[in-house]
């Protein structure tokens, strides 16, 4: 699976949520009315990804997120419980995450499949796995995969919902990748060599052993650990792979779409030939993403 283009938005949020209207217009070429922050962020990231590389009509859209459109869901809940108001029709429809896919498909003229899919602790990886299946199968020639997470105010409440300490920097991001199958004739940025979930540490060790057969491999590869990896596991992974640790810089604020941020920065900064991104979950499973520059 090849990466043809990528586009991003990422912001640390401190005092107020930055307005997005102008950025949406800039990214899509027109104002988009009556949409909330989640859909705006999706349009900005996807628009930036597709600016120089318009996607073919039958491109599939794969949207993922850790929390989805929190803004609209919180608003609907508050209106019901605190003000006794039932959901407004458009608000109700937009509580379905797939609504964002509709706006994306409509604005970028896409008629392929569209999915909102996620996995706790590895949203982007889950969407990439489905896109890889469709592209490998040959039923699609291109896929637009994006990971979007928004921030809501007040930040103290947002941190409570994220289960992070009160002093954690939080933010929002929208990270998009236009992908094609291996037959794509044009210039590509990179190849996604692997996007897999391994059930435990033993399986990870076995997989790593098959990836580092050449003595040059570690020198050409950087290891980026995901946001759910603890320090002992981070050290173990460095030991197992022999790769230099690498992280996006500046360190991104906390949001669920971190993996997209790391991949985006890797494609931009090109710190090594290959990126090995590994994240874990509380069950001890490992999500692995391996990407090599073209």
């Amino acid at each position: 699976m090849k990466i043809i283009a990528h586009g991003h938005y990422a912001e640390k949020i401190e005092d107020a949520l930055p307005p997005l209207k102008e950025l949406v217009k800039e990214a899509t070429g027109e104002p988009v009315r009556r949409v909330g922050r989640f859909i705006q962020l999706a349009l900005i990231g996807a628009g930036r990804c597709l600016t120089a590389n318009p996607a073919p009509k039958n491109t599939g859209v794969y949207l993922t997120s850790g929390r989805g459109d929190l803004e609209i869901t919180l608003d609907v809940l508050e209106q019901m419980v605190e003000h006794g108001l039932p959901p407004k029709p458009l608000s109700f429809i937009n509580t379905v995450s797939n609504s964002a896919c509709f706006y994306l498909a409509k604005h970028f003229g896409l008629h392929g499949r569209s999915h909102f899919v996620t996995r706790r602790h590895a949203p982007l990886e889950s969407a990439l796995q489905l896109a890889a299946l469709d592209l490998d199968h040959g039923s699609l020639q291109s896929a637009l995969v994006g990971s979007v997470d928004i921030c809501t105010m007040p930040l103290a409440d947002h941190r409570t919902r994220l289960c992070v300490p009160a002093d954690t920097a939080v933010g929002e991001g929208s990270h998009w990748f236009l992908l094609s199958n291996d037959t794509y004739p044009g210039t590509t940025l990179a190849t996604i060599e692997a996007v897999i979930l391994l059930p435990d540490k033993d399986a990870l060790q076995q997989w790593l052993a098959t990836q580092f057969l050449s003595p040059q491999s570690p020198a050409n590869t950087v290891l980026a650990c995901g946001q759910h990896i603890d320090t002992p596991t981070r050290l173990l992974l460095q030991h197992l792979t022999g790769c230099s640790a690498w992280a996006a810089s500046p360190e991104p604020p906390w949001y669920d779409s971190h993996c997209g941020n790391t991949l985006g920065q890797f494609l931009q900064l090109r710190p090594a030939r290959t990126l090995l991104h590994i994240d874990s979950d509380p069950a001890g499973r490992f999500n692995v993403l391996q990407v090599s520059l073209s």
């Binding site: 919180l74 569209s114 999915h115 706790r120």
Partner: protein, 387 residues
Amino acid sequence: MAMNQACFLGAGIATHLGTGMAAQLAALQRAPLPPQPVNCDIGTIHECVPYKLLADFPLADITQRLDTVIDHVIEQALAAAGLDGADRAGISLFIGSSSFDISLSEYSYQHAHTVRNDAIPMEDSPSFGKLGEAVRQRFGFRGPDFSFNTACTSSANALWYASRLIQAGKIRYALVLGVEVINHITALGFHGLGLLTRSVMKPFDAARDGLVLGEAASALLLGPGNDSDFRLLGGANMCDTHSMSAANADGSSVAAVIAAALAEAGISHTAITAIKAHGTASLLNDEAEAAGLLRIFSGSTLPPVCALKPFIGHTLGACGLTELILFWQALSNGFIPATTGIGADNTVLGISLVQTPAVPAAGIYLLDYFGFGGNNTALLIGTGDAR
């Protein structure tokens, strides 16, 4: 290249008709019943909404009810498949739902609001993947998991990808779960859209006047089996940008997704011997679906068409899997469910529903699903030797 088999190995189901397969099959041979009014009380809102609630899981303890029914249907599916402990650990989980555990977030916020002034909504770390994580932990599944939120096509899409990941050799067993339980956002949202009827749903009928919401939990285990086992033979999903809430009434987008499913399966429409329609009994969607089916079967005889929502209500994100299990089991037991007196007149939209339980012909069966956000999915099922 030989593909791995993704056969339907065992199912579990709970709906308004009862719990377990026998209860469903018995009820599918009787006339569908009207919904019951259910009080939706939240904040100062007191609304009565027609619903088809789960028959055997009373609205007593909301905090436990969702997990209880999920565990019940998964246990049914695993037991029916006879999968042992070692294989269970390798299972991959695919969930399709439009509301996941929002009922719990609503409940905890509403409860907290009555005892604390500073209560905030969704304090409980909301995440679409949270339900899947909890299910995996309870059952010890360690394979990859995927949570689909594509409105009324959610569990159909979950099933489609589960089947294809097995066929591609990426996973060996998949447990697909479709779940939808009552929650205020859904109930009041549909009520506000004016899409609900208080009588029996009447898909494709001149008197159709809306849908009835339903609850369901269903589970299906996929994996290697025999040629005589049912399985997914093909499918397709396409995005229809005509409208956020309805397919194009000219049937073009419905026909396109069915044609794509037929192409994926490598079969002609003439191989289809029965159809499970989406049939939401709404004015526009039934018109679009009927027009789409007529486009596909233009110049040939339309096979028998049935609709299952009059029996169980519209179970939204769960309807993809729940209706597939009901249809598959009815076919396996020798009948196509009939809705006597509903959708009988084919002069209204050009198609009519099966009026007396029909004996299914051998072949391939089509299932349609359409959801908010322009998400359209068509699935084809049959036995391995049906092509």
